[in-house]
């Protein structure tokens, strides 16, 4: 069980406003802010490199924290400056040729899909979209039928930006492993709101951001790379420098054995400590407990929303994550978001281009996204529903 009062007391922003945009960027708890402020103060006192030397044990421990969070080994973790850098340093490392196929899902996020389109333009590779099951989730059976020797990468997202859908990431993993196809999983919306286990998922690469459900600072992300992939020849990052690939002779470099070959010089140790603190904070609460509460709040919200006139909940799939999306028959989503903001309630309007393939396939408008975290209270959700009734004239 999560102690709501304690969680809120440790969240400086709780109480100032009703914050329901945790899927974009959550609120940092005080210990995360303190970890960073303390480190900046140390840097100012003794200088950047001496500070890093003094705190090397704590900085090193961040790798172990990430590893423990997703059931990986510390050597399989790279700390990155953002989710995009994590995802792209893997993606750009593949040497696609004309006719090579990249398989992705309909709900793919704009950030990743734009990079795929660019890769297609550069190399002539092909992007194929895995069909969906009737419930709207990516279909592993259909995926299996698509596999041939031209498929060089499966790159999918677990939970999309535009709804509560949870794609069957572990089933996709089983198909990928059965055919030894590299599997890059975008887990941005999963880490921090539910247990994540790379062994269960069967992914070769997993990328994530710190600022969302993990409640870590902006400017943090991480990458998991399966040990077996690291030992394969050709597992080369899209970006290397002498941190990940020491310069060993005039015409040669050697990649590090560990996933840190994907890191570049240099980074903010303060932000890394913020990330590590956020992960330990979540692990102390327990990811199962967090998942239970987030799910409880989201399901309650969906039920209430479904009862409001003109509102359609837009979350696909059988099993749901903590992202709740909806649209109203006649009131534009942006107007609803603006009306709520006037009442000090932060939600998010999801543009159609955020997951364009899905938008077009379903013919959906912009959506309102409400993403409640464990520190949000039932009272806050009541207030949202009340404000929403006002916004749609169902007062």
């Amino acid at each position: 069980m999560i102690d709501l009062n304690k969680a809120r007391a440790e969240t400086p922003a709780a109480g100032n406003a009703i914050y329901l945009n945790n899927a974009s960027c959550s609120l940092m708890p005080q210990p995360v802010v303190d970890a960073m402020q303390d480190y900046f103060a140390l840097e100012a006192r003794v200088g950047g490199y001496p500070a890093m030397a003094q705190q090397s044990t704590a900085i090193e421990a961040v790798y172990a924290s990430v590893a423990a969070l997703i059931n990986a080994k510390p050597g399989e973790i790279a700390l990155m400056g953002s989710h995009t850098l994590a995802w792209q340093s893997v993606f750009q490392g593949f040497r696609f040729k004309e006719g090579d196929r990249i398989l992705t899902d309909r709900s793919e996020y704009a950030a990743n899909y734009i990079a795929m389109l660019q890769m297609k333009k550069r190399t002539g590779c092909v992007i194929d979209v895995i069909p969906c099951r009737n419930d709207g989730a990516t279909d592993p059976v259909a995926l299996e039928k698509m596999i041939d020797e031209h498929v060089k990468l499966i790159a999918t997202n677990w939970i999309p930006t535009n709804g509560g859908l949870m794609n069957p990431a572990a089933e996709i993993g089983r198909v990928a492993r059965a055919h030894s196809i590299p599997y890059l999983l975008d887990a941005c919306q999963a880490v921090g709101q539910m247990p994540v286990d790379v062994e269960e998922l069967g992914c070769d690469y997993l990328s994530a951001a710190g600022r969302k459900w993990l409640r870590a600072p902006k400017g943090t992300g991480f990458l998991y790379v399966r040990e077996e992939r690291l030992s394969e020849p050709g597992c080369e990052p899209g970006i290397i420098d002498d941190i990940g690939a020491p310069w060993t002779s005039a015409d040669a470099y050697e990649l590090l054995d560990s996933a840190r070959r994907f890191e570049t010089h240099e980074n903010s140790p303060a932000l890394r400590l913020g990330l590590g603190t956020a992960i330990e904070y979540a692990r102390t609460l327990g990811l199962d407990n967090i998942r239970t509460r987030v799910n409880h709040l989201a399901e309650g919200l969906r039920t209430e929303l479904a009862g409001l006139p003109g509102i359609r909940v837009q979350d696909l799939g059988v099993e749901h994550a903590g992202l709740v999306t909806f649209a109203h028959d006649s009131v534009a989503s942006a107007d609803i978001t603006a009306a709520l903001l006037k009442e000090n309630i932060t939600v998010k309007t999801i543009p159609q281009a955020g997951a364009l393939l899905d938008t077009l396939a379903r013919g959906i408008p912009e959506l309102v996204r409400v993403s409640a975290h464990y520190f949000n209270s039932e009272d806050e959700l009541e207030a949202v529903l009340k404000a929403l009734r006002g916004a749609i004239g169902a007062g």
Binding site: A17, V46, T84, A111, A115, K218, I239, A250, A270
Partner: protein, 391 residues
């Protein structure tokens, strides 16, 4: 320059003699406050809400960095570090088998391994521009190397391992005369001397915030000349640099921020902007004058210490001073200084392998004063060094 006031602005000087500004400068209070205040604001009202509230200041940070290097605001991208800046520019060029990339002998390892990776991927060729007798890039030799297969000139202006300042402006004149893209690694320059991209004639300039600029770690920036923006696609592009306009199409931003990716630590961006403002306020000419004075004094005094060889090459030099001792290893000297709360660093051969091999360099002790260092601090270091050597 009011050294006392500048030292009063710098919390670190009362704890350490910091002579590692080429590694990471001490942040002045204004930079620290900018970072800390924004982190607190984010914790209080949320990340995107803080971004909206501070939008004007976040935009102003771009203007400040642009002013620092004589560029337009629209030509600046903020990225996570110097490597990301440099590689975003480097990998955005397309090379074919036999295409030539010209680099400096003092090229930094980070850049060179990327060149080697590109060579492996495409079959392009990396060639080193010869030096003149001072050890700096020989512009005449560069001119003679040029032909239609030269697709990029990518040089380090100031190397990590010494006081050399390469003739970046001379290289720029040649690059422009021949219409060859010119990528300048300026990591060690902004903050210790005036930098002007018009004078330099570079098409891309990459730098970090944490060194002589005294910004926070985890910051870097890339300058992209506006005419390059007409056609060039960044190596890594995402929904920050482009909009997904149709199932098969995207449209890039018109400014250099297409080289940024989603998303970043705005607290650090604000710190970088504050660092640029602070340097501009003091004046880059005055800063350069003072750092050169301190560095020259160090070189003169070091030369008189028995067994010490100053290793700085080039006719034009900067605030980085490197030396070796005939029988005491650089790491031992660094540790001894650290025990006396003096921050210096060691440059190892693999960080500038070509130069280190050509000159048969051992590990070098690197001392890099900034304007806020006092003459007394320089003397403190020299005395401590003399004691170590005479032990």
């Amino acid at each position: 320059m009011d050294i006392e006031r500048l030292r009063a602005d710098t919390p670190g000087v009362s704890h350490r003699v910091h002579l590692n500004n080429a590694g990471s400068g001490l942040m002045p209070r204004t930079v620290l406050d900018a970072v800390k205040d924004h982190l607190d604001l984010e914790a209080r009202i949320g990340g995107y809400e803080a971004k909206a509230q501070e939008n004007d200041r976040i935009e102003a940070a771009y203007s400040s960095v642009a002013r620092l290097i004589g560029a337009e605001k629209s030509e600046i991208a903020f990225v996570e570090n110097a490597t990301v800046a440099w590689q975003q520019a480097f990998f955005s060029q397309s090379f074919k088998e036999g295409d030539r990339i010209l680099v400096a002998e003092v090229e930094y390892a980070a850049n060179y391994v990327a060149c080697l990776q590109m060579q492996k991927r495409t079959g392009c060729v990396i060639e080193v521009i010869p030096n003149d007798e001072s050890g700096a890039i020989d512009c005449e030799a560069l001119e003679q190397m040029l032909n239609e297969r030269v697709k990029l000139i990518a040089i380090t202006w100031i190397p990590t391992n010494g006081g050399l300042v390469n003739p970046a402006t001379g290289v720029g004149r040649i690059a422009r005369a021949h219409g060859i893209p010119y990528l300048l690694d300026a990591c060690q320059a902004p903050g210790q001397m005036p930098v002007n991209v018009e004078e330099l004639g570079c098409d891309f300039l990459s730098a970090t915030g944490r060194k002589f600029m005294r910004g926070p770690r985890g910051t870097g920036f890339l300058y992209v000349r506006s005419k390059m923006l007409e056609h060039l696609e960044p190596y890594m592009l995402d929904l920050h640099g482009a909009v997904w306009t149709g199932p098969k199409t995207y449209e890039m931003r018109s400014d250099a921020r297409r080289f940024e990716t989603w998303e970043s630590a705005l607290a650090l961006h604000l710190g970088l902007g504050a660092a640029a403002d602070y340097a501009l306020q003091i004046g880059l000419e005055a800063i350069q004058k003072r750092v050169l004075m301190l560095a020259d004094r160090l070189r003169v005094d070091l030369n008189e210490i028995p067994g010490v060889s100053v290793q700085d090459i080039g006719a034009q030099q900067c605030a980085i001073v490197t030396f070796s001792h005939e029988n005491i290893e650089a790491d031992i000297i660094k540790a001894a200084m650290s025990a006396e709360n003096i921050n210096i660093s060691v440059s190892k051969p693999p960080s500038t392998l070509l130069d280190s091999q050509a000159r048969s360099l051992p590990d070098l002790v690197r001392v890099s004063p900034h304007y806020y260092n006092s003459e007394d601090e320089v003397e403190t270091f020299l005395s401590a060094l003399r004691r170590v050597i005479s032990r």
